[in-house]
Amino acid sequence: MTKQVHDALRNTSRWKLWEPVFWLVVLASPFVLSSHALIINEIAIVALFAISLDLVLGYSGIVSLGHAAFFGMGAYVAALFAKLVMPDPLVGLLVAIVVSALLGAICSLTVLRGSDLTRLMVTLGVALILLELANKLDWLTGGADGLQGVVMGPLLGKFEFDLTGQVAACYSILVALVLFVLARRLTNSPFGATLMAIRDNRLRAMAIGIPVSSRVAVVYTIAAALAGAAGALLAQTTGFASLDVFAFDRSADIMLILVIGGTGWLYGGIAGAIVFKLMQDVISSITPQYWTFWIGLFLVILMLVGREKLMRPWTWFKRSGA
């Protein structure tokens, strides 16, 4: 009996067989599909960004339409660090993570109270203010022209970021994997469970002794760090940073990606990133003018039919329950 309870509890946190297989495939992809290494790199970055948003949105129920604030912060910090201090990517990544986490800690004060709509707007506002700041501080950031002249050093002193993007893709995937494992442990821990409790019912969470505000602040900070890492990866693998890393579109896109893949499930962000990016890439090269129409149609159908149902075609023609 005790064992049953124990097993039932541990079931979600145990690695399923397909998980290591999936990650092996992912790790191999830059080599097998070497001509697509660049898009793989971008997907890895976006997936990491989506995982970060999932921590706050999916697990803690805090909606954010300004997650690009941290992404952008990471990007600029990493780019500036490489330009002004030293070109080593790993050190730059760490610095970017720390700075974004700090920003997250400060911003967490703004999401503690209010309704979903309020949070949506406050987070959005913060990102837009950062965007304006980056624009105004053009002596540092290069303003609207973007930050140019970033030269990245080789990874571990050995691997140069090459034109094909293989090194970049491997680097991004490995960083994403490490952070994914951390996020996975976090969400399966008691700490993660208290987050879900807060998401489901704040009143009750408080009534069983969970310090709601501090938990939210902590997870927001962690998510900011992850988003910062994603931003840093983008800046480092592309070698520049521009204002649109803070843009509203980026925050909105990442929300779309996460919801497409499914919230409250770390692989949701990854799935969403793969589906959305590939779809965007393929459709927009077929019809560069009107690809948004097809993406829109996809979203509408996905939401009308439901994610579960769309993935199980054999249920399409069965009569649904009440």
């Binding site: 609207a144 993007g165 592309t238 520049f240 927009s284």
Partner: protein, 367 residues
């Protein structure tokens, strides 16, 4: 792989705020190909169009993919400055010529030795205006520009030149790029009462500025409206209505440019695009294709990126805009700057050229 193909990667914004830029360029590029055939020096020219939504990191990835996977010979397009700047390192690394057909910040050509520009630079347009204005009784000017790279370029060059010419910029206003309402800024201008208001806003917002300018009765208060050609974009001029009449702008291209070549160009363009009038973006695309074609012809289809680049430098030819050439040193465009006034011709509104400053180099490069 395919030795008989010559691939041009055209990276332009086809959706989003800058979409009309991309449309004009693509239409012009296709027109050029239709008029001049798609085989040059034994190579079949293939145009690969990619939409970058004017987002630089996407631009960079697309450029990189095109270079690595499609093995393109030339990349072209680039709707906004950051996008061009993002792609520049790829050009350097892969030794691929990069033809800028739209972006207009002065510094772009310096970002890589492989950049060639066939559009224009904002300093050219604003300096031309700053030369003309004081001679025509405009001494006290307020500038109003969009708060981003090209806007700041326009502001700076206009101000310096005007000062040099004995005029004075009494106030410089920068409006947020996405400002929907210009009322407060225009009111400020009205309260200052300068001789003229010099405007640079991305094409599209120009109409709004003009309308609100009139609504506020600023013309009646004796303030003139001047600006670079973006303000009276040919693409939209007709819809702006009679309020636009008499507005003076400086630019390198007008659809009304009185040359046989331009007449032919405008006619063919309108015919191919349901009556859409070509604007300065289109001409940048058209001439860009010309530069690429001729470089290919000159290298007889044999040379790599270096050879193509060398063949692009120094090209002199007649464009629909008038005579132009690619400065071999700066790789930037040298062309006439025209002063134009909006007038009604054949029942339509046009920018009618009335003065010209010949063969202007980019003033941004002389410093």
């Amino acid at each position: 792989q395919d030795n008989n193909k010559f691939k041009i990667g055209l990276i332009i914004p086809m959706t989003g705020q800058q979409a009309s830029t991309g449309r004009q360029i693509e239409a012009a590029a296709r027109l050029y190909m239709a008029q001049n055939g798609d085989t040059v020096a034994g190579k079949k020219i293939e145009l690969i169009v990619k939409d970058d939504v004017a987002t630089p990191d996407v631009t960079k990835r697309l450029a990189q993919e095109l270079v690595v996977n499609e093995k393109i010979n030339v990349m072209a397009g680039f709707g906004v400055t950051p996008a061009a700047l993002a792609a520049a390192p790829i050009a350097t690394q892969s030794k691929t010529p990069l033809v800028v057909m739209a972006a207009a910040t002065s510094s772009i050509t310096e970002a890589s030795p492989y950049v060639v520009r066939t559009s224009f630079t904002l300093p050219q347009a604003s300096v031309a205006m700053a030369d003309w204005a004081p001679k025509n009784g405009i001494k006290k000017v307020v500038t109003l520009v969009s708060d981003y790279g090209p806007g700041i370029d326009a502001e700076r060059y206009f101000k310096d030149r005007l000062l040099f010419n004995g005029g004075q910029v009494v106030e410089s206003l920068r409006v947020p790029l996405r400002s929907p309402d210009f009322a407060p800024f225009l009111q400020k201008v009205r309260d200052i009462k300068p001789d003229a208001l010099f405007v640079f806003v991305p094409s599209g917002a120009g109409a709004a500025v003009m309308k609100q300018f009139l609504e506020r009765g600023m013309d009646k208060a004796g303030i003139k409206l001047i600006g670079t050609g973006d303000l009276t974009d040919d693409d939209q001029l007709n819809d702006m209505g009679d309020g636009a009449l008499g507005v003076v702008t400086s630019h390198h291209y007008s659809a009304f440019h009185p040359s046989p070549m331009n007449k032919k160009f405008v006619e063919a363009f309108e015919k191919a695009n349901k009556g859409m009038r070509p604007n300065f973006m289109a001409v940048g695309g058209y001439d860009g294709m010309r530069v690429i074609y001729e470089a290919l012809r000159a290298t007889k289809g044999q040379g790599g990126g270096e050879a193509l680049l060398a063949a692009m430098k120094g090209q002199i030819f007649e464009s629909p805009r008038g005579p132009m050439f690619i400065d071999a040193q700066t790789r930037d465009v040298v062309h006439n700057m025209y002063l134009r006034k909006v007038e009604r011709k054949n029942g339509q509104l046009y920018n009618v050229e009335f003065d010209v400053i010949k063969d202007m180099k980019d003033p941004g490069k002389s410093k």
